[in-house]
């Protein structure tokens, strides 16, 4: 009896189970960027832990319930969620090599991200004008660090998106450009995941 017969003969196990070869570069690049994103999420977990420890340390200053506007947070959340969806649609347009749909998806994603930032900056400006500055209490220091760090990531994402659209315009859908766009869409979706944590822990739990 041959070995092939023992294992059920040729074709019993799909050939692809053995003949993988090295993984394509796009898989490797996405994996490396995924590890970076996880390290970024670990950084945010430290900021979340700091905030949760200091949330009651208001030092006689304003607490979250007096500062946070539910409507503004709901609109911010909507902006980021829809922009995550349009980022997915942009990724599909890239898969179909459709430049017009790619630009359209990127433009909508950019506008929604920018709208989120405008709302966040106006919130910060209003708080600082009312005397709720980062120096006022440990609670406010932790708040501005956590939410501001997320806002800085969104700002960086918008710059990155602009650069990527310039690359699509000048270089077209080269494999390298596609890999960078894949990393960008991972980054943008990860920012939305962190925002889910922020609106739950900071804003929704904060008004109670």
């Amino acid at each position: 009896m041959s070995t092939a017969a023992v294992f059920g003969g040729e074709g019993a196990v799909p050939a692809e189970a053995f003949d993988d070869g090295p993984a394509p570069k796009r898989i490797v690049v996405a994996y490396g960027f995924w590890i970076f994103l996880l390290s970024d999420i670990v950084l945010f977990s430290a900021l979340f832990a700091t905030y949760a420890v200091l949330v009651n340390a208001t030092a006689g200053g304003p607490a979250g319930a007096q500062l946070f506007s539910q409507t503004r947070v709901a609109i911010e959340t909507g902006c980021l969620l829809v922009s995550s969806y349009t980022c997915g649609l942009m990724w599909m347009a890239i898969g179909a090599r459709n430049p017009t749909a790619t630009y359209l998806g990127a433009a909508v994603t950019f506008v929604l991200g920018a709208a989120f930032l405008v709302l966040e900056f106006s919130e910060f400006a209003g708080m600082i004008a009312a005397g709720a500055t980062p120096q006022r209490s440990a609670f406010l220091s932790a708040f501005f660090t956590l939410v501001g760090c997320h806002g800085a990531h969104v700002t960086l994402g918008l710059v990155w998106l602009t650069v990527m659209m310039a690359q699509v315009a000048t270089k077209g859908f080269l494999p390298a450009v596609q890999r960078r766009l894949a990393c960008f869409s991972l980054f943008w979706h990860a920012l939305d995941i962190i925002w889910v944590g922020i609106f739950t822990v900071v804003y929704l739990m904060g008004i109670r």
């Binding site: 390290s39 670990v42 420890v53 995550s84 944590g197």
Partner: protein
């Protein structure tokens, strides 16, 4: 993209161009995730603002909803699956979650303990911490 095609490709090759059927199923995945995320977000905002629910239970409910929504984002937007080519991503994610849990739960546990054990200078702490 068929599996045989993807294995015949050399590393660094182009991503295959999508056909209409694949694009439709991908659109379905994104849209499903989007709808689920909207529903979970809406429930979160409702639960935080309603007076119908038992107030001490609401933060736990909000945490569960947030974790569920993060799961939806991971599966439908970031496309973490149980597929063979995703094993490394899942393992890295599991390690990331472990570290996040250690950092958050560990910090809260230790700091709560410290606060509770500050008996003698408790009033002094209260001035700063309002605990």
């Amino acid at each position: 993209m068929s599996s045989t095609q993807s294995h015949d490709r050399a590393p660094g090759d182009d991503t295959p161009i999508q056909t209409g059927g694949e694009a439709f199923s991908e659109l379905l995945v994104y849209t499903t995730g989007f709808v689920l995320a909207i529903i979970l977000t809406a429930i979160s905002f409702w639960a935080a603002n309603t007076s119908l629910l038992w107030p001490p239970g609401v933060p736990l409910g909000l945490a569960v909803l947030a974790i569920a929504q993060m799961g939806v984002h991971l599966v439908f937007f970031i496309h973490i699956t149980t597929g063979r080519d995703n094993t490394n991503n899942v393992l890295a994610l599991a390690f990331g979650i472990l570290i996040v849990l250690l950092v958050v739960a560990g910090s809260l546990w230790i700091m709560t303990n410290l606060n509770a054990n500050m008996v003698a200078p408790g009033e002094l702490m209260n001035l700063h911490m309002q605990h």
